[in-house]
Symmetry: C2
Subunit: 189 residues, 2 copies
DNA sequence: TTCATTTCTTAAACTACATTAAGTTTTTTG
DNA sequence: CAAAAAACTTAATGTAGTTTAAGAAATGAA
């Protein structure tokens, strides 16, 4: 049922079968159709989502009405609007499936309970959050260090398969420019 | 000696006097003069730094030779180049004191040991990293949602005292524009 | 308290990227 | 598989922010 998550957890800590069962009682697993939403603006973010298969994205709508993608999550990544999730207040973000996606969710009312019942998971989530923090530091450096064109070429060389996987307008907003400009860059060469 | 850190930790978990002593054996505390470096490009980041008093900044030098500030840390914040710290490989960043600063440091060779000896601290650092992740999500949204001028005015209204505290050229690079443009904005009104 | 260094300001010329708008291609859906 | 919707392209025009360069002000050191 939740083996994708158990496998991931076991890369970082050892979770016994008994502990897996306790964890299972606090999880949900389900499919999300392409373009369906797990969160929309104004809603409270109910869960922290682990992607088993597929791709989710986190975005918001800016003042001009344009979608700004701030994060993607593919297989074995967690994604949520952390502030809305932790404090159960209204979100300014959307979480949408960029592809048909299978997720495992831990809802907020189980989140604290999980750490009480399975304190081992403190370590797992600390390590996951460290990876997230590394990713954020890399991301910020990336955004500050290059022009839009360089950012696209660099991203494309690092993750060519991912670039193929999502629509260009999502990628353009993730990289911080317009779809029109992305077209222009691609036409160049 | 380390009371600023103990106080901070005790906001999140309960650490006994005995546990504080164990922790103390893995910490160092020292002063950093204004403009002095805790890390420079090419060096391996030795420690994770907790600011007791003062202000540190994390920055890198971009292709054009300009300093790009990616993070500030004031009282009660941790700062490090996480990738270089965790994997002990050469950093592309500098960590510099923006003011005379007192820090508490945990060096890499004590970091894993700390979690073995004091597993309670898994929770503390998980919660700290959650706060960091919230801050990153806010930061990215902020960078993507507004023009340079709006970013400055917004930041200035949120943290007026901090804006006074650091040189404008550091702030400009943190907000993603040039010092000249910041001057222009400020002259406007 | 003076000299040197660092930081900040001003302004003109420039450019990377946005905007707008129309047309084309691809994907989705009944 | 046809029609509609979504995604992508092209190109002209516009602009927010950069670059360069020089001078002014503030800060720090001796």
């Amino acid at each position: 049922m939740y083996s994708a998550l158990y496998n991931h957890i076991n890369k970082f800590i050892d979770l016994s079968t008994g502990e897996q069962e306790i964890l299972a009682s606090m999880l949900k697993s389900f499919s999300v159709k392409k373009k369906a939403f797990l969160l929309t603006e104004g809603q409270t973010c109910r869960a922290n989502y682990f992607v088993v298969k597929g791709c989710l994205r986190l975005y918001f709508i800016d003042i001009k009405g344009a979608e700004q993608t701030t994060q993607f999550a593919i297989e074995n990544w967690w994604i949520t609007d952390l502030t809305s999730f932790l404090f159960q207040n209204p979100s300014e973000f959307y979480i949408q499936a960029a592809e048909a996606t299978e997720v495992i969710a831990i809802e907020q009312h189980h989140y604290d309970e999980m750490f009480l019942k399975l304190p081992k998971l403190e370590r797992y989530f600390r390590l996951i959050l460290q990876k997230n923090h590394q990713a954020s530091q890399r991301r910020i450096k990336f955004l500050y260090s290059q022009t839009a064109e360089e950012r696209y070429r660099h991203f494309n060389s690092l993750f060519p398969e991912f670039v193929q996987r999502v629509p260009q307008y999502m990628l353009a907003s993730y990289l911080g420019f317009t779809p029109e400009f992305l077209s222009k860059i691609r036409a160049k060469k």
